[in-house]
Symmetry: C2
Subunit: 408 residues, 2 copies
C-alpha cells in the first residue's frame, strides 16, 4: 500500500521502517484532526496486514534527517545528511518529500518545454550520441571503443540540429543527454547532463530565435508557478528561497550595457573580455536590483570569445549575433545565429586555427542550400536548480555524474 | 522562402536547384488548377527575387529520384537512390516528402507515448547513460574512457527505472538513447537507438503492467491513425503497405498457445525453446490470419530463455511472468515482472552463473522496501518502421548507427 514511516503499531508488530505492506482495514472518520499525517480526517482500523517487502532494519539514512533544513534541530543534536551519503543511497534519498517534489517539477519542465515548442510548430528530433569526430576540436570529449575503431560522445546535438534545419525541418527541438569530459568539480558542472535544445530558421532577424527561446522559458516559468506550487513549497520548506521573478517580454541587454553596469559597480574589465563567473553573478544582482528580474538575455557577445561557427555582427565585426541567458545570475543557455555559408564558415574556422579537414562534413552540410538559422542549448538540471533557488546541480540530477562519481 | 525545385524560371535566372530564395511577389488566383504543385489555386507573379543561399550546381542525389517507388520508371531508365547514398547525403535525403513524413510521424509517436503515460500518472525520469558497471554481465557493451578510469554506455535504463520504483515514484517512463555493441548487420539492429521505457509498481497482478503498456500502444496507434493520415499516405506512395491493424483490448496469447499454433503449422520446436526470428515472423502471419491484428502480446515465456531478473511464474516454475510485444510479426518490446526480493534475485543470478560481486549495487537496491513491479522497453525506430510497413530500421533513424556506419 505505501511506505511505512511513523506507525508505532508496525514497530510493535516487528515490521521495519520503509517496508512495503498491504493492509486490509476499515476507513473511519476521526473526531479530531490527526495533525501528524497528511490524511487528517480519516484513520485506518487495521484488520489484516501483509508485509510485501521487508526493509532491512538498519537504514543507511533516516528520511526525517534527510528532509531537515540545515541548522534546524542542531541544538537537540539532530542530524542532517551529507550529500555523498544521500547520493550513495539515492534510492532512499529520493523517497523524501523534497526529492519527490524536485523530480516531479523536473518532469514538468520537460513537458512544458516540449508542449510549448510543439504548439509553435517545432518538430522533435532524435540525434545520435555516438559520433565519429569531435565537433569542436576534440577538447573535453569522451572517447568510446567502437568495434575495432574508436568514436566520441556528442558534446552537444548542435551539428545534427543544424543538419535538420538544412534538411527543411524549419524548427526543431530535442531533449537528451549531453557529455562533457571536463574535469570541473564545481556546484554547477556535470559530466553528463540533459540538454533541452532548440534550433530554427528565421525570416528577417536572429532576434526571432531569441524571442522564441525566451517565450518558451516564460511559458515554463508560468507553468511551474501555476501548476507546481505544492512542489515548490515542499522544496522551500527544506531549502528556503525567494520566488523566481521574470518579466514579459524578457529583458534583453546588450553586452556593452552589461560591461557598463559592471564598470559602474567598480569592476575592471575590457569591453571585449569574456565575463568571469563572479562577474556573471554580480551582473545578475545588478540586473535584479535595476530591473527586478531573475531571468534575462545578454545579447551581442564579443566575437572573439565565441566559437568559430558564430555569426559575426554585420554592423560591427568586433561583436557577434550571439547570446547567453541567465537565471539568478548563472548561465543556463548559450546560443547564437550560426554561420550558414560554407565559405564564411571555412574562413572563420581557419581564423580559429581549426583543421578544416576535421570539420569537412560539418562545412559540407551548408553547400546545398541552408537557410539563416540560430538556436541554443539549455541545461535541464541548471534550470531546475536555479528556478528552485538550490545551490548544487547534484540536487536536480537523479543520478549525477561528475569526474569523481559514476555510481549508483 | 522555400526550397526551390521545379521552377523553370529559376533555372533561367541561373539559380541552382535547392537554393534558398526570398521572393517578393503578387499572389494571384489562377483559372485552371496547377496540377504539378501542392498550392493549386494560386500562383506567384514575381517582382524581385533574392538568393539567400546558393546550392552547389551538382547535387549528390536528386530529390525526384529519392522519392521514386522501387521499379517505377525503370523502363524510362529513371534512377532510384540506394540506401548508402541517401545516408551519406542525409541532409538532402531528409528533404524528400517521404523523409519529412516519416520523421514528423516519429515525433508524433514520442508525443503520444509521453502524453498517454502522463495522463495515467507516470512521471518522466532522466537516467544516466554513462555507467560504472555493465549490468547484464558485460557482453555487447561499449566502453568509454572516463578520466583516468573507464566506464560503459548503458544498454538499457532498466536498473535506473527500477531504482525509481524503489524510490516511491510508483510509475515512471523515459525516452532516451540505448547503446548495444552488437556486431549485427541486419535490417532491424542499430548500435544506438531510442528507447521508450516504462516501469511501474502494481497492486495485484503483473497483467496491470501489460495492460498499461498495451493501452499506451493502442493510444499511439489511434493517434497516428487519426492525426497523421497525410504522413502515412505520403510514405505509402513511395513504400506501399497494408494499413496497420490492432484490436481493443489487445490480443494476449500465452507462449504455450503460440508453440501449439507453430506446431500445427508444421514447425518443429520444443515447448521451452526460444522463438527464432523466422518463427516469430511466421507466428505473426498465423496470428494475423486467425485474429486479424498486427499487434499482440506473447505472455509467459519459458523462464530458461529470459534474463536472471525475470520473475518466475509462481504456479509453474518452468515459465515466467514475462512477455514480448510484436508488430507485424517483429518484436518491438521485451518486458517482465522483475524480481523485487534481494534474496530471490541473488539466487536467480547464481543460477545464471553471474558474479554476485559485479551486480551487488543492483541487488542492494531492493533491500530497503521494494514494491512488486514490472515494465518494458520499446524501440522507437522499430515501432515507426513496422507501423509504416517499412523494411529497414535505417529509414526511421535520422542518423543511423550500425557497426559499419558512424557518419554523418
Amino acid at each position: 500500500m505505501s511506505g511505512v514511516e511513523d506507525l508505532t503499531i508496525l514497530c510493535f508488530l516487528g515490521i521495519t521502517k520503509e517496508s512495503i505492506v498491504d493492509v486490509e482495514a476499515m476507513v473511519r472518520k476521526v473526531e479530531q484532526k490527526i495533525e501528524s499525517c497528511s490524511q487528517q480526517d480519516v484513520e485506518l482500523h487495521i484488520e489484516r496486514i501483509f508485509v510485501i517487502s521487508q526493509a532491512e532494519p538498519r537504514l543507511p539514512l533516516q528520511l526525517e534527517d534527510a528532509v531537515r533544513p540545515d541548522g534546524e534541530g542542531e541544538e537537540e543534536g539532530r542530524a542532517t545528511v551529507n550529500q555523498d551519503t544521500r547520493l550513495d543511497n539515492r534510492v532512499i534519498d529520493l523517497r523524501t518529500t523534497t526529492s519527490q517534489a524536485i523530480f516531479r517539477l523536473q518532469s514538468g519542465v520537460c513537458q512544458l518545454f516540449r508542449d510549448t515548442l510543439t504548439k509553435k510548430g517545432f518538430v522533435e528530433i532524435q540525434t545520435p550520441k555516438i559520433i565519429s569526430a569531435a565537433s569542436e576540436g576534440g577538447a573535453n570529449v569522451f572517447t568510446v571503443s567502437y568495434f575495432k575503431s574508436s568514436a566520441y560522445l556528442a558534446q552537444s546535438p548542435q551539428l545534427y540540429k543544424q543538419m535538420c534545419i538544412c534538411a527543411d525541418f524549419d524548427k526543431v527541438f530535442c531533449v537528451g543527454p549531453v557529455f562533457r569530459a571536463e574535469d570541473s568539480n564545481t556546484h554547477r558542472h556535470l559530466t553528463e547532463f540533459v540538454g533541452l535544445d532548440i534550433e530554427m530558421a528565421f525570416n528577417y532577424h536572429y532576434h526571432e530565435v531569441i524571442d522564441s527561446i525566451t517565450d518558451t522559458m516564460v511559458q515554463i516559468f508560468k507553468g511551474l508557478r501555476d501548476n507546481f506550487q505544492t512542489e515548490i513549497q515542499t522544496v522551500n520548506k527544506q531549502f528556503p528561497s525567494e520566488p523566481f521573478k521574470f518579466l514579459e517580454p524578457t529583458l534583453r541587454l546588450e553586452y556593452t550595457e552589461a560591461v557598463a553596469m559592471l564598470h559602474e559597480a567598480g569592476v575592471e574589465m575590457g569591453d571585449e573580455d569574456d565575463l568571469s563567473t563572479p562577474n556573471e553573478k554580480l551582473l545578475g544582482r545588478l540586473v535584479k536590483e535595476k530591473y527586478d528580474t531573475d531571468f534575462y538575455v545578454l545579447d551581442k557577445y564579443p566575437l572573439a570569445v565565441r566559437p568559430f561557427y558564430t555569426m559575426p555582427d554585420p554592423s560591427n565585426p568586433k561583436y557577434s549575433n550571439s547570446y547567453d541567458m541567465f537565471m539568478r545570475g548563472e548561465e543556463i543557455l548559450s546560443g547564437a545565429q550560426r554561420v550558414h555559408d560554407a565559405q564564411l564558415l571555412s574562413e572563420r574556422a581557419q581564423h580559429h586555427q581549426i583543421d578544416l579537414e576535421k570539420i569537412k562534413s560539418y562545412i559540407d552540410s551548408f553547400r546545398f542550400g541552408a537557410p539563416p538559422h540560430g538556436g541554443g542549448g539549455i541545461g535541464l538540471e541548471r534550470v531546475c536548480m536555479l528556478y528552485l533557488g538550490l545551490h548544487n546541480v547534484r540536487q536536480t540530477s537523479m543520478f549525477p555524474r561528475d569526474p569523481k562519481r559514476l555510481t549508483p
